[in-house]
C-alpha cells in the first residue's frame, strides 16, 4: 500500500516509455530536448524538465502537494466509491479494472477534493487523477466535483479545479455522460451565487471533461504544451484525412484561438491562483 501510493504516475509511465537507463536517469520526451535528466532533479523541479521545461504529467496526490500550502489540505468526499451500474465488461471487467487501479494508486477513483489554503488563501480544491483510469469521469468523479462546487457555494469559497483527463468514462456509459450535465448545472448555481471558479487545464484534457466543467472557468489557465480539446487528434485525423497543423490543440494554440486566458508554467501556478483569488476578493 505504501509502496503503491509513493509511486506516482510519472514513475510508472516514464519507466515504461524511457526504459534506458533504469533507475536514476531518464531521457526527456520533450520535443527538441531528448536530454538525459536526473530523476531527482525533475522531481525537485515539480516534475518539469530542468533543461527544456517539458511538463511531465502528475497524479492528484502530487498535484495537491504542489498547490496547497503544506499541511493545509483537508480531503473531503473520499468515502465515495464507484459501483458497476452497467455490469460493464470489455476485454476486462470494469470491476477488475477498478480493483487494479485502486491497488496501483491506493485511491477509490480518479479525483481528490477538499479544502485547502493556496499561499494563504482559502479555497475549495479539486484535482482529477491522471494516474487512475486516465482521470476519466464516471459517477464518482462527477459526484465529487458537484459536491465540491456545492461546498464552495455554501462556504463562499473560491473554487479551483485542476483537470487532466481522457474524458467521460466509457465503462459507465450514459451515467458518465450525465455527469457532464450535473457538474455544469452545479457551476450555474455557483455562478448565480457569485462564486469564482478558476479552471486549470493540464496535459491532457479532452472529451467530456473539456466539454463540461473544465471549459466553464471564470478564469481558464493551462500549463504549457498541454493537449486540450474536444475530440482526440487521432479521431480528427481519421475524420478529415489531412495532416493536423503543428501545435494543434496545445495550450498555446488555444490561447491564440481565444479559448483560454493564460498559459502558466507549473512553477507559477500557486502565485497566479492566489493572485486571481485576491482580485476576486
Amino acid at each position: 500500500m505504501t509502496q503503491a501510493t509513493s509511486k506516482t504516475w510519472v514513475d510508472v509511465k516514464s519507466g515504461r516509455r524511457n526504459a534506458i537507463p533504469e533507475g536514476l536517469w531518464m531521457r526527456c520526451p520533450g520535443s527538441d530536448c531528448g536530454q538525459m535528466i536526473y530523476k531527482r532533479h525533475v522531481e525537485a523541479n515539480l516534475h518539469v524538465c530542468p533543461e527544456c521545461g517539458h511538463h511531465f504529467r502528475v497524479g492528484a496526490v502530487e498535484r495537491v502537494a504542489q498547490l496547497a500550502d503544506e499541511g493545509s489540505f483537508v480531503e473531503m468526499f473520499g468515502h465515495l466509491v464507484p459501483g458497476d451500474p452497467l455490469g460493464f465488461e470489455d476485454l476486462r471487467r470494469y470491476t477488475d479494472r477498478l480493483a487494479g487501479e485502486q491497488l496501483k494508486t491506493g485511491r477509490h477513483d480518479a479525483v481528490m477534493a477538499g479544502e485547502a489554503f493556496i499561499k494563504g488563501r482559502q479555497a475549495m480544491l479539486c484535482c482529477l487523477d491522471l494516474s487512475f483510469m486516465m482521470g476519466s469521469m464516471g459517477s464518482v468523479v462527477g459526484e465529487v466535483i458537484t459536491r465540491t462546487i456545492e461546498r464552495a457555494i455554501e462556504r463562499r469559497l473560491p473554487l479551483v479545479i485542476v483537470s487532466g483527463s481522457g474524458g467521460a468514462r466509457m465503462q459507465e456509459s450514459g451515467l458518465s455522460l450525465m455527469q457532464m450535465a450535473k457538474t455544469s448545472a452545479a457551476l450555474a448555481r455557483l455562478d448565480d451565487a457569485g462564486g469564482l471558479f478558476i479552471s486549470v487545464l493540464t496535459d491532457p484534457t479532452t472529451g467530456g471533461v473539456t466539454a463540461s466543467f473544465a471549459m466553464l472557468g471564470d478564469i481558464i489557465i493551462a500549463e504549457p504544451g498541454a493537449l486540450i480539446g474536444f475530440a482526440g487528434p487521432r479521431v480528427i485525423q481519421q475524420t478529415i484525412r489531412q495532416e493536423l497543423p503543428d501545435g494543434f490543440q496545445r495550450s498555446e494554440f488555444l490561447l491564440d484561438a481565444g479559448l483560454i486566458d493564460r498559459v502558466v508554467p507549473r512553477k507559477d501556478l500557486r502565485t497566479e491562483i492566489a493572485r486571481f483569488i485576491d482580485y476576486g476578493g
Binding site: 459501483g83 470489455d90 480493483a99 480528427i236
Partner: protein, 368 residues
C-alpha cells in the same frame, strides 16, 4: 435509397417485400389490360394473352397479396420483438428514418426557421425555429443529418460545429424571453471532430449549453429521435423531460468508437459487443434513469410509417408541455437541476468501512 442500406436481420422481410412488389405489379398490369380492353376502343384483334385476363386471376393475386402482407407483418413483428443493441443502432441510422425537418413538417404548423449564431455562421446540422405544436407555441431545436447527398455534406451527417450549439442556445434564450417552451430533437452521431470545430471551441460551446440550459426559465422537453451520440447529443438535451424513440440509441460514445478503444479494433463482432456493453438502448436508458419515457414506434421502425411515428412524438411532447405548464420558472429550474443532480451510481462508505473498501479493491473484489 434504402436499397443501399440493408439490414442483415431484415433479410426475410426484404424477400417478402420483393414478392409483394412483384405481385402488386402483376395485379396492376392485369387491371390495366382489363381497363384498356373494357374502357378503350374494342380491339379488332383478340389479345394474345387473353387467357391471363380472367378475373379469377386477379382475385387469386389479391389473395396472394393479402397473405404476403400478413406474413410480412408477422415476420417484422418477430424480428423487431428482440433486436439486439447493435441492430437497434442500425435501425436508428436508417436513411429513411424521419429526421428533425420531417417531424417539423409532420407535427408543427407555421414553422418559422431562425438562422445563425450572430458570431460565426449558420450551421445546417442544427435547425432552430418558432412553430406551433397543437395549441402550443414552441421553439424547436434539432439536429439535422440531411437527406440528399448535398444536404448530408452540408450538415456533416448531423455532426454540428460550435456555431450550431451557439445558435441553439441563442434561440433557446429567445424562447425564454418570449416565455415559450423549448422542444429539442436529438439525432447526431456526435459533435463534429475537425480543425475548425476545435479552433472555434467545440468543447466550450457544448459546455456552455449544458450550464445555460440548466437555468433556462421555460420548460424544456427533449427527445432522442435517432442517434444520441455523447456530448454532441447532450449539448441540446438538458431538459425537464427526456424521452427516446423506441429504436433510438443514447450513449457516451458510439459502439464503433468504444470498440476501437476498449477492444482495440472496430469490426462487426466488437461493435456488437460494445453496443451491448454500453447499455445504449431506450430500455436500458430508462432503467438507468437517464430518460423518463420511451415513445413507441410503428411496427418495424419509424422509417416504415413516419406519420405514425410523428403522431406518437407529438402526443408525448404535448403531454409534457401541458404538465410542465403548471410549474413556475423557479420550479422549472429546480426540477431540471434535481433531474440531473441525482444521476450517477455512487456507493457511500462509512469512514470505518472506507479502509476496508480499498482492501477489498486490492484483493480484486467488487466495490459494488
Amino acid at each position: 435509397m434504402s436499397g443501399f442500406y440493408q439490414l442483415d436481420f431484415e433479410k426475410d422481410v426484404r424477400a417478402l417485400e420483393q414478392r409483394l412488389a412483384e405481385a402488386r405489379r402483376e395485379l396492376e398490369a392485369l387491371r390495366k389490360r382489363a381497363h384498356d380492353r373494357g374502357g378503350g376502343q374494342p380491339s379488332p384483334f383478340p389479345a394474345l394473352d387473353e387467357q391471363d385476363e380472367d378475373p379469377a386471376d386477379a382475385r387469386s393475386l389479391e389473395r396472394t397479396i393479402d397473405r404476403l402482407e400478413q406474413e410480412r407483418e408477422r415476420t417484422i413483428r418477430e424480428v423487431y420483438a428482440d433486436l439486439d443493441p447493435w441492430q437497434v443502432v442500425r435501425v436508428a441510422r436508417h436513411p429513411d428514418r424521419p429526421q428533425t425537418r420531417d417531424y417539423i413538417a409532420m407535427i408543427c404548423r407555421d414553422f418559422c426557421e431562425l438562422h445563425g449564431d450572430r458570431r460565426f455562421g449558420d450551421d445546417p446540422a442544427i435547425v432552430t425555429g418558432l412553430a406551433r405544436l397543437g395549441p402550443h407555441k414552441v421553439m424547436v431545436v434539432g439536429h439535422q443529418k440531411g437527406r440528399t447527398t448535398q444536404e448530408k455534406l452540408a450538415c456533416h451527417f448531423g455532426c454540428a460545429h460550435p456555431e450550431g450549439y451557439r445558435k441553439a442556445l441563442l434561440k433557446m434564450r429567445l424562447a425564454e424571453k418570449m416565455g415559450i417552451p423549448i422542444v429539442t430533437l436529438v439525432d447526431t452521431p456526435g459533435a463534429y471532430p475537425g480543425i475548425g470545430a476545435e479552433q472555434r471551441g467545440q468543447a466550450e460551446a457544448i459546455a456552455v449549453n449544458l450550464r445555460e440550459m440548466s437555468r433556462i426559465r421555460v420548460p424544456i422537453v427533449s427527445v432522442i429521435i435517432g442517434e444520441g451520440g455523447s456530448g454532441g447529443a447532450l449539448g441540446i438535451a438538458v431538459a425537464n423531460r427526456v424521452a427516446m424513440m423506441r429504436y433510438a440509441w443514447y450513449s457516451v460514445i458510439s459502439p464503433e468508437g468504444c470498440a476501437a478503444i476498449l477492444w482495440k479494433q472496430a469490426n462487426e463482432q466488437t461493435n456488437q459487443a460494445a453496443a451491448k456493453a454500453l447499455k445504449l438502448s431506450a430500455t436500458d436508458n430508462l432503467n438507468l434513469g437517464i430518460i423518463d419515457a420511451i415513445i413507441d414506434e410503428p411496427l418495424g421502425g419509424a422509417h416504415r410509417d413516419p406519420a405514425q411515428a410523428g403522431r406518437a412524438l407529438e402526443t408525448w411532447i404535448s403531454e409534457q408541455i401541458e404538465a410542465l405548464g403548471s410549474l413556475s420558472p423557479d420550479e422549472l429550474v429546480e426540477d431540471r437541476y434535481r433531474r440531473f443532480r441525482r444521476l450517477g451510481s455512487v456507493v457511500e462508505q462509512t469512514p470505518a468501512a472506507s479502509e476496508q473498501g480499498v482492501e477489498a479493491g486490492m484483493a480484486g473484489g467488487s466495490q459494488a
